[in-house]
Symmetry: C2
Subunit: 344 residues, 2 copies
């Protein structure tokens, strides 16, 4: 069974020799070779340069026997392609180049020619595929319309993202106009990612839990549902809704084939309640990888035990890898899940 | 039915004429009279001066027909009384005066004489009761051991609180020594609050969702369980575990009489699944109070509809009031819930 076969079998809840594994943000600052490259190129340059993006994407695969690569990119390439650029603030976090605070500014966003504007992501995927070969799964991704709108309307990173909720509650037509543009842009973008070789796509609703439960369908999930429907089953979609895993029945109604859980969910209970409705991915706390190999082995084994032996489970973290993760902990994790001791 | 009777009846799931209402952080920066007082005294001075704390506690009661007052204080008075002081950082957030990063420092924390060291909170409660009269409920509160330990071990506010999880996973004996001290201190502190006139107590596990689901019992809930057991049913306890409302059965096992829900939970489903096991409090999104009176009325009515007519529901927000909440929205909320148009 190749890693790609293993990954896709788990997605489709078919038997596997062992659970496939990949790690959210597996390419990134915890890797010395990434930090080395980062001294020469800034983050956005790496995202926008296919050769660099492909190189970063493949870095963790050279170290660890991962079953899938996920393209090195950023969810905010969509707002930028729509006309609202962004940068990193000196004090940390994201700053959008302007605040999306009027009907005129929303009207001015241009959701056309996404495949053209974001061709660099397609090129990065194609280049990665050519270097990766056919035996390993390759994933694309995007942010959900709701999560992107959180940044766009707030003007950048925030603790609470109050502005998006004020817009959605007070000016529903304007909110819907924004969501429709984001949805259209994302559909084109994801089709391009599939054309460029993505085996599956993950949609990140990273700020799902900002949304009140009773509005979650209207404010976020219906747009994700629409996106997945427009992909017409070309590839399976994984949905990660941080802090909203307890709404699994609603998440499954979007058409997602895999529900990716954060660490606050009990994996065994979730697998029992989800049943055959979707495969499940997650939910090791990323902080475990900052502790010791011994603790990592124990915690990873616990997640495997909770996942059980029924087909349809993909090992992953409950959130992205954190920069202080230790290489020896990632190695211990890989050994526990794969039984292998290195990437060779 | 007095407000106090109404509040306590709802806690005990007995019939009420209408749902009682109070609002987390109802005394605070959204009130002009609080901001006025804050120009003369800093936050910690107000917390430590019974006359000022009582005045701030009563400010929202003079404006709105709330059924309960909650003492103006801070969860971090416990670490401070244990010997680890704190301050507000210039860039925002909490800074502990030193980092709790060794066995020696944990050993040095002194959990004795809590009632004496925190007498100012008892005095503030007594003074508030004398001014409030007997007809309105008066609440005390504390942070959970887990939530306090998040700040203490991290050294202040943080996005992710990785340090507490590293301690709990890698040095479980040391973690438990810390939790035991916090638990002992909190038990004494809460008994003192009851002696001083508190009708009920709310425990804030504000950082519950930092904890992996499979460790939540061991890392947080067992200590809350122990605290509630030690209070020997003198007064009912409300448990607020932000981001962990989906673990309601586990929360109820602590002995809490009321489960306070954030906005990510579907209130109707939660009331159905909790049944007679506990009363429920919450879960209006605080951002609603930054919109318009019209939106506030609509959203508040929706929460009331979701709560249903079965006894055992207390109206509240899903998290604390935010500083940009508008007075006219709070008024619209009070009218919707109480049918009254002012505090008179």
């Amino acid at each position: 069974m190749t890693p790609r076969q293993r990954f896709l079998a788990a997605v489709h809840q078919e038997p596997v020799d062992r659970p496939p594994i990949w790690l959210m943000r597996q390419a990134g600052r915890y890797l010395p070779e990434y930090r080395e490259l980062k001294t020469k190129h800034d983050f956005l340059t790496m995202v926008r340069t296919p050769e660099l993006a492909a190189e970063v994407t493949l870095q963790p695969l050279k170290r660890f026997p991962l079953d899938a690569a996920i393209i090195f990119s950023d969810i905010l390439v969509i707002p930028e392609a729509l006309g609202q650029g962004y940068h990193f603030r000196d004090q940390g976090g994201i700053g959008m180049d302007y605040l999306l605070d009027s009907a005129e500014k929303i009207e001015a966003l241009d959701p056309t020619k996404m495949a053209e504007k974001l061709k660099y992501v397609g090129d990065a995927l194609s280049l990665t595929r050519s270097k990766l070969g056919e035996d390993t799964a390759l994933l694309g991704f995007c942010g959900s319309p709701w999560t992107l709108a959180c940044y766009m309307v707030e003007g950048g990173s925030a603790k609470d993202f109050t502005a998006i909720k004020q817009l959605a509650l007070v000016q529903p037509e304007l909110f819907e106009a924004l969501m429709q543009k984001l949805t259209d842009a994302i559909v084109d973008y994801l089709h391009m990612q599939i054309d460029a070789g993505a085996d599956a796509l993950q949609i990140f609703d990273s700020w799902g839990a900002i949304c009140p439960a009773t509005h979650y369908e209207a404010f976020s999930l219906r747009w994700i549902h629409h996106i997945i429907a427009e992909l017409k089953n070309r590839v399976p979609v994984i949905l990660y809704a941080k802090g909203m895993g307890h709404k699994a029945p609603d998440l499954m109604n979007t058409g997602a084939k895999v529900i990716s859980l954060d660490w606050t969910m009990n994996l065994r209970r979730m697998r029992d309640s989800i049943g055959r409705g979707a495969a499940v991915q997650g939910n090791l706390d990323p902080v475990v990888l900052t502790t010791t190999p011994e603790v990592t082995r124990r915690e990873a084994q616990h997640v495997l035990d909770e996942a059980g032996s029924r087909p349809g489970y993909i090992f992953n973290l409950g959130h992205g890898m954190i920069p202080s993760a230790k290489i020896e902990c990632v190695e211990a994790l890989m050994e526990t899940v794969t039984g292998q001791t290195n990437a060779g």
